[in-house]
């Protein structure tokens, strides 16, 4: 059974405000107010580090023992955007070389946009299970918010910089993966207004359905879930999703939305770290990691774990 054996994160100190986006993204003062008041998005994290630096800092924070380091066989880099640097640069390989993980097979996992992090965990667990020995895998996430598209999602979210590194094992005590559901919705491929409108229309139902389906697949009910670790897309999306499935909003860890923004595929792991620090996850607690990704098609995903 796949387990999350450890999490390292890097969240930079610097912030960029939603107001500073107004001119570039043609936001009216009223739209800025909507972002602050309802979406609860006020700023996003920024770093002077390169992408290699972001990934390296998360890997260093993971603080692998020497014994663990040599057992790492796979590194899966979960990305929101398919291309994050120009060819032939490869920040993933550079970061791994810098921390003594150059021996691992390293590759990117995408296609599910911000839901690719969950896909990468599932895939890492399956690769390790197929090997059938004591190998380990690392799921890396985090990107630079440098193009317009990678900084701001109109009417929806602000991307923040940061990174996370998650150590995955095929078995172990913590945190055990109980269930995974990914709903692929290929019909939401395209930039047409009608497609975007329909996506908005079904978003909360689809995200809620993925959460409840994953919880049911784990043989549990929503009452058994201590906390949801969300993607930090915005507050109102989670408010509406929770209302639909009848889950209390105060058990969704949304505190990072306002300050650091949507850290691509790394949100869930950064939120996990916070949940543990706040004492929101105690041994034996079941929790949900959920994310929705939109790019070429849409994906609504949820995983249930036992801490």
């Amino acid at each position: 059974m796949t387990t999350l054996a450890g999490i390292g994160t890097f969240v930079p100190e610097a912030r960029v405000s939603i107001e500073s986006y107004a001119e570039e993204f043609d936001l009216t003062p009223m739209q800025v107010r909507v972002f602050r008041r309802y979406h609860k998005l006020g700023s996003a994290a920024r770093s002077d580090e390169s992408l290699t630096g972001l990934l390296r800092l998360a890997l260093e924070d993971l603080a692998l023992s020497e014994e663990q380091r040599v057992r790492v066989r796979y590194v899966l880099y979960a990305r929101t955007f398919p291309v994050v640097v120009p060819y032939p640069r490869n920040p993933l390989h550079d970061a791994l070389a810098a921390v003594g993980l150059g021996h691992a097979q390293a590759f990117a996992v995408g296609q599910q946009a911000c839901a690719s992090g969950l896909l990468a965990i599932d895939l890492a667990g399956r690769l390790l299970a197929a090997d059938g020995d004591d190998g380990l895998a690392i799921v890396l996430a985090g990107e630079k918010a440098f193009t317009g598209e990678a900084r701001f999602v109109p009417e929806t979210s602000m991307f923040g910089e940061g990174a996370a590194a998650c150590l995955v094992a095929a078995s172990g005590e913590r945190d055990r993966l109980l269930a995974y559901v990914a709903r692929l919705r290929g019909e939401f491929d395209g930039d047409l207004d009608e497609v975007a409108q329909e996506f908005q229309r079904i978003y909360h139902d689809a995200l809620g359905e993925a959460v409840t389906a994953a919880v049911a697949r784990a043989g549990l009910g929503l009452d058994d879930i201590a906390v949801i670790l969300p993607h930090n897309v915005n507050q109102v999306a989670w408010q509406r999703t929770c209302k639909r499935i009848g889950f209390p909003l105060d058990r969704v860890l949304l505190e990072h939305v306002a300050a650091i923004g949507h850290v691509f595929c790394a949100d869930a792991f950064i939120n996990h770290r916070t949940a543990v620090e706040r004492g929101l996850l105690r041994p034996g607690d079941r929790y949900v990691i959920a994310a929705a990704g939109a790019g070429r098609g849409a994906t609504f995903s949820a995983m249930v774990f036992e801490h």
Binding site: M30, Y38, E155, R201, R240
Partner: protein, 94 residues
């Protein structure tokens, strides 16, 4: 959830009129013949964020704060459903 039984009809009517007056400003185009039955998303193509802009504009115009805790997608169905929600969820003046 707003309780329709306790909504002041005059207040609701005032909110309907205010919403219709604000629609061109929020949608940035002419909106002729808007009325209580006009559907915001289907007829006018309003997005969820434009809907929230409309609620903020209403707060400014009505000079009252609107509780958005229970504001859901269904409340944005028509001008009338939004007016019912708003009229039932105005916060008390300080």
């Amino acid at each position: 959830m707003s309780d329709t039984a306790t909504i002041d009809p005059a207040l609701r009517e005032h909110v309907v009129e205010t919403i219709c007056a604000l629609l061109p400003r929020v949608l940035k185009r002419e909106v002729p013949d808007a009325s209580e039955g006009t559907t915001l998303m289907d007829d006018l193509g309003m997005s969820s964020t434009t809907g929230l802009e409309l609620v903020l504009e209403l707060e400014d115009r009505l000079e009252r704060e609107i509780s958005v805790e229970d504001l859901g997608r269904d409340d944005f169905e028509t001008v009338g459903t939004l007016a019912s929600y708003v009229a039932g969820n105005l916060l008390d003046e300080e």
